[in-house]
């Protein structure tokens, strides 16, 4: 899956990313954490118990107000790739599945992250996190990530809420959470994404879909079986019904997009028939991934 051709594309994407994020230096990416660094960040009012050493006496001399100096605390950026490995991700023709596409997207973005000396972690999930690749740093770790992604197999039902609740519990260090999924969760995607938002993760939602799902070649008397839940529904597929189905599919994606946009999460929608590098570039251009 991750062959030389793929690596060449990754290198090219990295160069492009550097141009987009021009002026930034290596290891200069900062978190929003205010701590004990040496770089001034802001003032705040003094509260009893604060360290006197951080009082800004210059300001006090001018304004007779006690203000405390705040400093940025420099630390590495953590990027978490939450890859959906549920059964719905494994449907497709000729091996072209959403899961495969998700792996490719995750690998590509991981490479960019590692190249920027960020810490990259991979967390595959279905109803819960299945496995975990601990945060790794440095471009040399990319093969480890490839191996990990290669090993991933799909299966099980989706529960974004349960999976992300577990994720935020296990990962206290905040960072960027890139969710690569079809977001096919009967219980809904809202609770799961809210968990990430509440825990201050910068969330990027990448919704994958197959064109076959949007325009399935179905006609006549059918019995539809949900691949994850096994739910069965008898249906007569007509041209009118197919039209309504497409409208419903688009409405579902729109709901997800609206949800993310309103909550300042970046949202991307990609068909697996689309070249993955174009999707990566869309992510870059949106600027969310490159700080």
């Amino acid at each position: 899956m991750f062959d030389d051709e793929f690596l060449k594309k990754l290198e090219m994407l990295y160069i492009i990313s550097r141009k987009i994020a021009s002026g930034q230096l290596r290891a200069e990416r900062r978190t929003k954490k205010i701590g004990s660094g040496i770089e001034f960040a802001d003032h705040r009012n003094y509260s009893p118990g604060d360290d006197f050493r951080n009082l800004d006496w210059t300001v006090y001399a001018r304004t007779k107000k006690l203000l405390l100096k705040l400093f940025e605390e420099e630390e590495d950026l953590h990027i978490y790739f939450l890859v959906d490995c549920s059964l719905s991700m494994t449907l497709g023709r000729d091996g072209e599945t959403k899961l495969r596409y998700a792996k490719v997207i995750a690998a590509a973005l991981s490479y960019i992250g590692l190249s920027n000396l960020d810490r990259v972690a991979i967390i595959p999930f279905n109803a819960k996190p299945i496995d975990r690749l601990p945060p790794a740093r440095g471009r040399g770790q990319i093969y480890k990530i490839f191996q990990f992604l290669d090993r991933l197999e799909g299966g099980g039902e989706t529960s974004i809420k349960d999976a992300f609740r577990t994720f935020v519990t296990q990962n206290k260090r905040r960072g960027v959470a890139v969710v690569v999924s079809d977001f096919y969760d009967p219980a809904g995607f809202e609770d799961g994404l809210n968990f990430l938002r509440y825990q201050k993760f910068d969330t990027i939602a990448i919704q994958l879909f197959d064109q076959e799902e949007l325009n399935p070649a179905l006609r006549g008397e059918l019995q539809l079986v949900d691949c994850e839940t096994g739910e069965v529904r008898d249906i007569t597929v007509t041209a009118a019904l197919m039209r309504r189905y497409r409208e419903a599919f688009e409405a579902y994606s729109k709901e997800l997009e609206d949800f993310c946009t309103k909550r300042r999460m970046l949202y991307f929608r990609a068909a697996i028939q689309e070249p993955f590098d174009e999707v990566i570039l869309r992510v870059f251009r949106a600027g969310g991934f490159l700080k």
Partner: protein
């Protein structure tokens, strides 16, 4: 309404059974194809909106069922063959008279091969439109009338017969046909007569025939044919020259029925080989006739054909049957003659002059016996007495002596002068007998009713032909040597005429027969039956009566006549100027009787109801198919 195909009970049984099966099929649960989808809640949203219209879905399914039931009802109803009550009760006697005369082979029609083909199609339309209670009789009309069926109610039976009818080469006899129809429908309450014809009858014939029908008969003329453009050979004969049997003289009569001047060419064929073309030599005036003689035509063969062709570029001959005429060439046969004489060099010289036709053998009177006659075709008895009178055979007596048994003589006369001749008698062909100088002649006895006197001198027969049972004899009253005849060319001619007559070989013209007539073909009296094979068709056994085979000729061309002894040909032609005049009467002239079949079958009969029912069923099936495939009714 009356059902002719099914009883009401059977109708309801079949329909009920089929409807029950259909209902069962609708009740049975449909086996659906299983399809795995990644996320069924999206489908659930869609289906939820559909289920809101559940009553409509149920109605559509019911509608589909009702459409199926309606389809079944229409099909079963079509099988039941419904008819209006009043129609099925009223039966008519319908006579279909189909003109199969020669002119019906004219090609001036659209929608068929020839006039007859179109007429047959029109007749089929009438036939198809008849009701089950109607009785139909099919009659063909040409030179003879042929009722093909009695009145039958199953008109379908007639269709096959109608398809097998072929036109003949004989003229139509419409009076005879209408007389027959009048007799056949006598006493019938409701009679309809349909005549399918070009109505190209001799002037006044149609009106006369129409008048034969009773006023109560509903007569309709279904008129076919449009044009009268035709040229025809209305007469064709060939005869052999007596003096030169290798040459012939041809007589052709060509007639035009065009209303303008046309040019034609004439081709002559012998045994299928082209002999001569009289190219562009013949111009025919409007509706004009040309009688043409072609003398000194030399050819070999037996079957002679004359074919006339239009050479005027923009003219079209639409009737081909009379464009070819047929004739049989007379067979040249060499007579074997016994010359019973002491000596007569003049006679021998005359026979030698006809060397090609005659061989002779001189027999002394003392050496002659009656039994010798069987070896010869004819016997010439020159001045010699016979021991016994012959009763059959062919004899020429020259100056028969008094007291002999050959021909009865009542005395002699001096220097007779021929004062009377029978004009056109075969014995005097090409001979001027009155100028003969005769020194002495016998007074010949004549048998009334059996003898024909060809020449006489003040009432005394000088030249007599006798037909007495099997005996054919000629008597010449005077001694040839005691007359001026040896110095004239008349001598060999007289001898040939006499030999031709006694041997019945004077047929330098073989008659050509006309179709539509009873032919009386001469054959040997000893023949009891002959077999005649027409140009197209099976051989027919024909009885012989008094040496004549009576045969009704219907085809043009060469007929093979086979007897126990011999086989020869008989040629026949249409040779009927009236039948060749194929122009139908003006539409206005027969408008009162003319029937438009298309209009009639629409207004009078209409299509059977079952056709409309089947069409409606098909339409319903189509609607069902479309709605099903577009998922409107599922």
């Amino acid at each position: 309404m009356k059902f002719l195909g099914l009883t009401p009970e059977l109708f309801w049984s079949i329909f009920g059974g089929l409807a029950a099966i259909t209902a069962l099929l609708y009740i049975l649960k449909l086996r659906r194809r299983r399809v795995t989808v990644p996320f069924s809640p999206i489908w659930s949203r869609v289906v939820a909106s559909t289920e809101a219209r559940r009553w409509w879905e149920v109605f559509k399914r019911l509608l589909s069922f009702l459409v199926q039931c309606a389809f079944l009802a229409l099909v079963v109803l079509a099988i039941a063959d419904p008819h209006p009550e009043e129609r099925s009760l009223e039966g008519r006697e319908v006579v279909l008279v189909l003109d199969t005369s020669a002119s019906m082979q004219a090609l001036d029609v659209t929608g068929g091969v020839d006039r007859f083909d179109v007429a047959r199609k029109e007749a089929l339309k009438i036939l198809e439109g008849l009701g089950p209670q109607d009785a139909v009789m099919l009659v063909t009309m040409d030179g003879q009338l042929r009722p093909l069926t009695p009145f039958v109610k199953k008109s379908a039976i007639l269709e096959q017969q109608l398809k097998e009818v072929k036109p003949s080469a004989t003229p139509a006899n419409v009076r005879q046909a209408m007389s027959f129809v009048r007799d056949a429908t006598r006493g019938k309450a409701k009679t309809e007569v349909y005549l399918f014809s070009d109505a190209a009858f001799p002037p006044g014939e149609f009106e006369a025939a129409r008048g034969l029908l009773p006023p109560s008969a509903d007569f309709h003329l279904v008129r076919v044919g449009e044009a009268g453009s035709n040229v025809a050979i209305t007469a064709f004969n060939v005869r052999r020259y007596l003096a030169n049997p290798l040459d012939y003289e041809i007589y052709v009569e060509v007639r035009s029925y065009f209303e303008r001047e046309v040019q034609v060419s004439l081709e002559l064929y012998a045994d299928g080989e082209l002999l001569d073309v009289k190219q562009g030599a013949i111009t025919l005036a409007p509706r004009g006739t040309q009688r043409l003689f072609f003398p000194n035509e030399g050819f070999a063969g037996q079957r002679l054909e004359a074919r006339v062709k239009l050479t005027t570029p923009d003219a079209r001959d639409v009737f081909r049957l009379d464009d070819t005429a047929y004739a049989v060439l007379p067979r040249a046969k060499q007579l074997k003659v016994a010359l019973v004489t002491e000596q007569n060099l003049y006679l021998e010289a005359a026979l030698i002059a006809n060397d090609g036709n005659v061989t002779y053998e001189v027999v002394a009177p003392g050496a002659w016996s009656a039994a010798d006659a069987a070896r010869f075709d004819a016997v010439i008895v020159d001045r010699a007495p016979l021991a016994e009178a012959p009763t059959q055979g062919s004899y020429v007596f020259i100056a028969p002596p008094e007291g002999g048994a050959g021909w009865e003589v009542k005395g002699t006369m001096e220097r007779p002068l021929i004062t009377a001749t029978q004009k056109g008698h075969p014995l005097l062909r090409y001979i001027a007998a009155k100028s003969l100088d005769i020194d002495k002649a016998q007074k010949l006895a004549v048998k009334p009713g059996k003898d024909q006197v060809a020449a006489s001198a003040y009432g005394e027969p000088m030249l007599v032909a006798r037909q007495d049972g099997g005996l054919r004899a000629v008597a010449i009253a005077f001694d040839l040597r005691q007359s001026s005849i040896p110095l004239r060319v008349a001598l060999p001619l007289l001898l040939l005429n006499a030999l031709d007559w006694v041997t019945d070989a004077g047929d330098s013209i073989v008659p050509t027969w006309r179709t539509g007539e009873a032919w009386s073909i001469p054959v040997s009296r000893e023949v009891k039956e002959v077999t005649i094979t027409p140009p197209a068709g099976e051989p027919k056994q024909v009885p012989v009566y008094e040496g004549r085979a009576i045969f009704y000729g219907e085809q043009v061309g060469f007929h093979e006549v086979k007897t126990e002894r011999d086989t020869f040909l008989a040629a026949s032609n249409l040779a009927n100027p009236l039948e060749s005049d194929i122009k139908p009467p003006e539409a206005a002239a027969v408008a009162a009787d003319t029937l438009d079949v298309a209009q009639a079958t629409r207004s009078f009969q209409g299509q059977p109801w079952w056709i409309y029912l089947v069409l409606a069923a098909i339409a319903l099936l189509l609607v069902e198919w479309v709605t099903y495939n577009r998922r409107w009714t599922v």
